[in-house]
């Protein structure tokens, strides 16, 4: 472990952070001292103390509990959105890059058009059209990620397409779908994994932003972005409803970014 730490600090720190986040998110129902929606008006806006380790929000809900459960939402949205983005983006990028010619040009024009929207704006439009909810936020962010992923997968496919082993596969009669998914795709896994990992961090950021704007997760679900939205009016009375989810968000996103960079360095070193 120390050897890894010395060789690849981002990876190590990233793994540590993510390990914690994941553990707490999974164990939240077991570890949390209170219920997620448990209100206790008398104890509202408390500072951290013996009764509430991280304090309470404006409804008297325990911040530690809500922060832990917020992690679950964040991970669900982050991982889910990226998974959706991959599901859509990888086949499109692969097919477009492999086909080349007119098909590729047409598809890429459309992809470029989607990429001309700032990602958050695209997600905003989709949520507006569908209505605000957790699932719609996931859908929106996933769809917003798909074009970027498609673009990257396409450029990687273009690089590999002309390698001689692809020619060899065609020369021996392999069918196009097999060549795409059986020969080319395995070579694309390292860059796809790196891209996906980094995007999880940004997806979490995006989902938190949407929730902050009121267009994502809806109350009373615990979500870090939503918690900060609700904390707005009272920050001068108590900063803790802002700081707890804020710190959790920052840490989690840093963790994913470090992990992604670490993985990239490692894979690049080996190549």
């Amino acid at each position: 472990m120390t050897a890894l730490a010395r060789a690849n600090p981002p990876l190590t720190i990233g793994i540590l952070i993510l390990g914690c986040v994941l553990t707490f998110a999974v164990l939240a129902p077991l570890v949390a001292p209170y219920g997620v929606a448990e209100q206790n008006i008398l104890d509202r806006l408390q500072r951290p103390g013996a009764k509430h380790l991280l304090g309470t929000d404006q409804y008297g809900r325990d911040l530690l509990t809500r922060t832990l459960f917020g992690g679950r939402t964040a991970l669900l949205l982050g991982l889910g959105a990226v998974a959706l983005g991959l599901l859509l983006g990888v086949p499109i990028g692969l097919a477009s890059g492999y086909a080349g010619g007119r098909t590729d040009e047409v598809i890429m024009r459309v992809v470029d058009a989607f990429l001309s929207f700032p990602a958050l704006l695209l997600a905003l439009m989709i949520v507006t059209a569908l209505g605000a909810s957790t699932m719609h936020a996931l859908l929106a962010i996933g769809l917003a990620n798909a074009p970027g992923i498609a673009r990257i997968v396409r450029s990687q496919t273009l690089a590999v397409k002309h390698e001689e082993f692809v020619l060899a596969a065609r020369a021996q009669g392999d069918a196009h779908p097999y060549i795409m998914f059986g020969e080319i795709l395995p070579n694309l896994l390292p860059p796809i994994v790196i891209e996906a990992t980094i995007r999880v961090g940004f997806a979490i950021l995006a989902s938190a932003s949407l929730s902050f704007l009121g267009l994502g997760v809806q109350p009373p679900t615990a979500d870090w972005g939503l918690m900060i939205r609700e904390a707005r009016q009272h920050i001068f009375l108590s900063p803790w409803p802002l700081l707890c989810p804020g710190l959790a968000l920052a840490l989690t996103i840093v963790g994913f970014n470090l992990f992604g960079d670490g993985v990239r360095d490692r894979l690049a070193g080996r190549a």
Binding site: R109, D112, F117, P118, L121, T128, F212, L213, G225
Partner: protein, 315 residues
Amino acid sequence: MASYVVRRVLSIALVLVLISLIVFVAIHVLPGSAATLILGEYATPESLRVLEREMGLDRPFAVQYAAWMGGVVTGDWGYSLAMKQPVTAIVGLRLRNSALLAGFALLAVVLIAIPLGTLAALRRGRWLDLAILTGSYIGISVPEFVTGMVLILVLAGPSLHLFPTGDYAPLAAGLRTWLSHLVLPAMTLTLVLLAHVVRQTRSGLVEVLQSAYVRTARLKGATERRVVVRHALRNGFLPAVTVIALDLGYLMGGIVVVEEVFAYPGMGRLILYAIQNRDVPLLQVSILIVAATYTFANFAADLAYAWLDPRIRYR
């Protein structure tokens, strides 16, 4: 170079058309017609039909699109239902306000981020580099609304009250007041952008510093300073140009959030307002403007890159 420019212009034109299509489709895909959402769930079918006819929503899709685009191109941007004004009257001011913020952020990026990234690349692996890298990790990871609210908490709170908590004051109210309303939102926006650009500048320069022609320059007997300035930076900055353009995308997404946090009357807030109020005409045009701006910015960056890179400029 000429043929490159022509091809890019055509490409942009096509993309703009596609963008307008996407915007139009996305908003009109609303479940239930726009009329339902304006009048509410309890509207009678009668009144719905009247409103639809009034708004032209009963015409075929393609006709609606054509009419709208026709209006956009000729300067008739529709009538805002929520604000009861022509859209053109509203958008101009907001655009200027957002541009101000964006302008500050870009200025800061060029003046601060590029030198920082360069420094980090030149002192790669040493303390300065690690410090800069750590800072930029934090910068890209902390959401703008968190940064913004923390800044408000610390700097605009009752204890310090160095800055107002938000909104905008015109220049007429005095330079100091005008600036004081801009500082916090601009800072928030800048921090994220800075972090991105520092990282990209650094990695672009690191790559150049390891290239074969930099080695050649060293083996010609050039001093380190000459190697860096005459050889590395010239080529290393090329990617920085593209990076700045790409990060305008972040900027424009972030601007929505930042303007919300600081109640700053810009395009971002306008879009949110339009969403909340189901103001379809306003929403369509606002999003189109933002997307088009981003597209033009990318186009400008492409051109700048093409002009700076001799491999494209002289075919």
